[in-house]
């Protein structure tokens, strides 16, 4: 019944291609969406395949309405809302398969193909990597092939594919022009849904035992750095992140960042200029080498010397920074700050307090106490491990005197506790330490695994001074990096020994970096930069639009000439003949519509005996060129010449 209502069944090969396109578009979503969505989509797909293969009947409308309502209910139960990014994508995916189950006529085919394009676009919410781009190209090719197939049902699939491929190839110059010249606007245009930026890794604004070691398992890239000159030695590569002052006995927290206070940095030594490409981490802080002296225009320095952006970093950004390796930090040391940097919770860690009290009693000044503490860390046999034993309430005591196994957060936390107990203002600084230079493109790559925590103490002479207790206890961590310090725990690809793997990863990283810089990071600023470098004076959206208009027009003209090529010679012959007929028509010798060229020539020469030879020559040549085998250029030129010289 369904068949009779909708006319002939859809051709099989294009339908199969369309189904393949749907699968290609939806497959990556399986990782991001709820399990029931994948199962439901697979069930609907199986239904459609069975109907098509067995030539069965598609479900009636009321079934589809029920299924659609069920989907909306499922989305609401899963997400508690139907607005937002993930619910939206879920609905789109289910809608695609429901529509596929309803696809009977050519009209439906277009809807399915357009939905495939939307779902392919939705993949980019989650990742825009090179493999995803390749998969999307495949998806678009399949959907386009299906559309070609439906518009010419009798063709072979291979021909449809070649037509679709030709369309895509001919479209690509226009795509490139539009991509580079279309005036870019920095999004978002309106508020984004709450869940738009979930699931990005990075440092957090708290630190408790296990926070940073968990991060160290990830080889995700935190940021990339391109130095103008040679990169500084590894021991100086402290990338400053959030500064943690408040301690409750277990967890360290940031105090509220303050922007408006006067800052002072005394910097010495050769400045280092570099460019950072920061991956989005949904926080405000921007990373820079200690100590940044020139910040990018949209960044501010907090009183804790942390560069922050005014809005959370939600897309990959690029900025230029200048840092100076030798510096003195004197800001953030008002009485309130210093008392906050001395506060420790009342009753915990008695043994550490006793040790600190001993140091205070026996040593004359703060500098000596700090030195003593460093010696303590260096002298005790601490072990650096990503899997430290669990600690109880007196976590500092247990770590310092019993287990002696820990990660950088244990070292930093214990050191700062000791300092505060001894009356030396101190705080924890988190960030990244180290970074590997990719020999392929020269970019330094800093990964989440390079996350680190160290300490700062306030000394009257030198201000806030960095002390890295991890470096004191385990020098290899800072000198050679995390992989050397804790080889068993580091991410697989970061371990040494797998040289070919490392080389392959370097190549891939460099490629990804180029992709990030030029494709994904092509934003309004980079567009202006590139256009000015190409010689456009004062690029604005008006000039860009004009350039776009003319260049796209030019490209289309070239494509059109290419597509319509080869029509010229035949046209020229016909035009010459028509010109000849026009000349005679003015003499009153109009060619009648049914008259062949040779008959016409006979009639004309009867009326114009003086021109007989000429008329016959032209008619004969015309007939030969038009109806004979392939016309050569010389003969066409001769015909044109004869017609031009002809005077009736």
């Amino acid at each position: 019944m369904a068949e009779t209502r909708s006319g002939p069944a859809l051709p099989f090969a294009p339908l199969a291609t369309l189904v393949a396109a749907c699968v290609l578009a939806v497959a990556p979503h399986a990782q991001w969406l709820a399990a029931w969505v994948s199962l439901g989509a697979a069930a609907l797909l199986a239904w459609r395949v069975v109907v098509t293969v067995r030539r069965g009947i598609l479900p009636p409308r009321w079934t589809l309405v029920l299924l659609t309502l069920g989907t909306v209910a499922g989305v609401f139960l899963s997400y508690r809302t139907i607005m937002g990014r993930d619910p939206g994508v879920t609905l789109l995916v289910m809608l695609l398969f429901l529509k596929l189950l309803e696809t009977r006529a050519a009209r439906d085919v277009f809807v399915v193909a357009f939905l495939v394009y939307f779902v392919a676009l939705a993949n980019f919410f989650y990742t825009q990597s090179i493999p995803m781009a390749a998969l999307t190209l495949l998806t678009v090719t399949a959907a386009t092939t299906a559309l070609v197939g439906f518009s010419a049902p009798q063709r072979r699939l291979a021909d449809d594919l070649s037509t679709a491929g030709r369309l895509l190839v001919q479209a690509s110059p226009m795509m490139l022009l539009l991509f580079f010249l279309f005036p870019r606007v920095q999004g978002p245009l309106w508020g984004l849904p709450q869940d738009a930026y979930t699931g990005v890794a990075g440092l957090s604004d708290t630190m408790s035992p296990g926070t940073i070691s968990a991060l160290s398992l990830s080889d995700a890239i935190a940021f990339r750095v391109k130095f103008e000159g040679a990169p500084p030695p590894r021991g100086q590569l402290y990338w400053r992140g959030p500064v943690l002052t408040d301690f409750d006995g277990r967890t360290w927290r940031v105090s509220l960042p303050q922007l408006r206070r006067a800052m002072s940095i005394e910097a010495f030594g050769t400045p280092i200029d570099y460019e950072v490409t920061l991956e989005p981490h949904n926080r405000n802080w921007m990373f820079a080498l200690e100590m940044p002296t020139r910040l990018p225009p949209n960044a501010r320095l907090t009183s804790e010397y942390l560069p922050i952006s005014l809005s959370p970093i939600r897309s990959r950004i690029r900025y230029e920074v200048r840092s100076t390796p030798q510096f003195v930090m004197r800001s953030g040391a008002e009485p309130g700050d210093l008392s906050a940097a001395l506060r420790i919770p009342g009753v915990v860690n008695p043994r550490a307090r006793t040790l600190a009290a001993e140091w205070r009693a026996s040593l004359s000044d703060d500098v000596a106490i700090v030195r003593r503490a460093i010696d303590f860390f260096r002298g005790s046999r601490f072990e650096y491990t990503l899997e430290p034993p669990l600690l109880g309430r007196d976590s500092v005591d247990e770590f310092l005197f019993d287990t002696k196994q820990g990660f950088c957060e244990h070292f930093a936390s214990s050191f700062v506790f000791l300092m505060r107990a001894a009356g030396v203002p101190a705080r924890v600084v988190t960030g990244y330490q180290g970074g590997d230079t990719n020999p392929v493109d020269g970019y330094m790559v800093v990964r989440q695994a390079d996350a680190h925590a160290w300490a700062e103490v306030w000394l009257a002479d030198s201000g806030w001074t960095r002390v890295d207790p991890t470096a004191a206890a385990i020098p290899v961590r800072v000198e050679l990096g995390i992989t050397a310090a804790a080889p068993a725990g580091a991410p697989l690809l970061m371990r040494s020994g797998l040289d070919w793997l490392k080389r392959a990863r370097n190549e891939w990283d460099a490629l990804t970096n180029q992709w990030n810089q030029w494709v994904l990071g092509y934003n309004p600023e980079r567009q202006l930069e590139m256009l000015s470098r190409l010689g456009m004076k004062q690029p604005s959206w008006e000039t860009m639009t004009m350039t776009l208009f003319w260049s796209v027009g030019g490209v289309l003209l070239l494509v059109a000439l290419w597509l319509l090529r080869g029509v010229r010679p035949e046209d020229a012959v016909l035009r010459a003949w028509l010109r000849f007929c026009n000349k005679l028509e003015r003499m009153g010798l109009k060619r009648s519509a049914s008259e062949g060229p040779l008959d016409y020539a006979r009639r004309v020469s009867a009326r114009l005996p003086a021109r007989e030879a000429m008329v016959h020559a032209i008619a004969a040549l015309y007939v030969e060129l038009r109806y004979g085998p392939a016309a050569d250029a010389a003969s066409i030129a001769r015909l044109k010449q004869l017609v031009r010289d002809f005077r009736p």
């Binding site: 050519a106 939307f118 980019f124 479209a171 978002p188 984004l192 289309l556 080869g566 035949e570």
Partner: protein, 322 residues
Amino acid sequence: MKFDRVLQYSQAYNFYQWVSRRRGPEPGVVYLTQRRVYILPTRPGLIFGVALILMLIGSINYNLSLGYVLTFLLAGVGVVSILHTFRNLVHLYVSGGRASPAFAGDPAHFQIVFENRRDFPRHSLELACGRATARCDVPAQRHSTVELALKTEKRGWLPLPRVTLDTRFPLGLVRAWSYVQPELSALVYPRPDAALLPAPESDSDAGDAVSTGTGTDDFAGLRSYSTSDSPRHVAWKASARSETLLTKVFAARASSELWFDWARLPAAMGVEARLSRLTRWVLLAEERGLRYGLKLPDKSVPLGEGFPHRERCLRELALYHG
């Protein structure tokens, strides 16, 4: 005059002439120049445009660089497909083929011949003329013939009306179309009614009684074939055995000659009713293998038989002007 010649080059003017049906039929081969191929987006094409705008807004809002790439690639595909659709129709040679005659009320078949001189095939060309539609492909450097079955109503010449030729290949997002009207006419015979053959007039010509009505003719034997014999009466099986063509001779056939006379029909019958009746008789007589003649007020067709004779009688009936 000169102004008219300038106007001929204007696409809009050409289009206006076609739509207002000022253009008459064109003899010979029509070459579809670029000026006479029109192109506009289809409904899916417009929806595609809206979808692209939504995708662009989404890409801007979420800062999706690859979203821009995808949107612009699809926009490029859409624009390039306009050129492909245009190319699929333009520079084609169209001419009229044969137009087969039909009885009024039956469809008349008009052949339209396409010639593709280019080195790429043309796909899914759709022809529409009134309610009649047809579809064809023209391979590279080949001819293709397609038939349009047009409904007929009145007897006489039926000229082929304006034919709309359109294509949506390759994506269906745009439609290119052109109007052609090859000079081609089909002859429409009067519609036969359901009468039986009349009894022969014994006084008009010598002859024996002829069976009327439904009775079958008696088979009388075989004789050698002569060129005026209807192929229907050739005894194919017997001929195959005897090496010469043999014709079946029917008892009734040899002795029957019929005149179908306009004037002898009942006076109450109108012109068209008379023509219908005469048409019916011609068909029946030819089917039976009789010799028959036709007498119209202004014309008569002498006695004869066979297919050309039938055609001649029917033609006179179709073109009769009372």
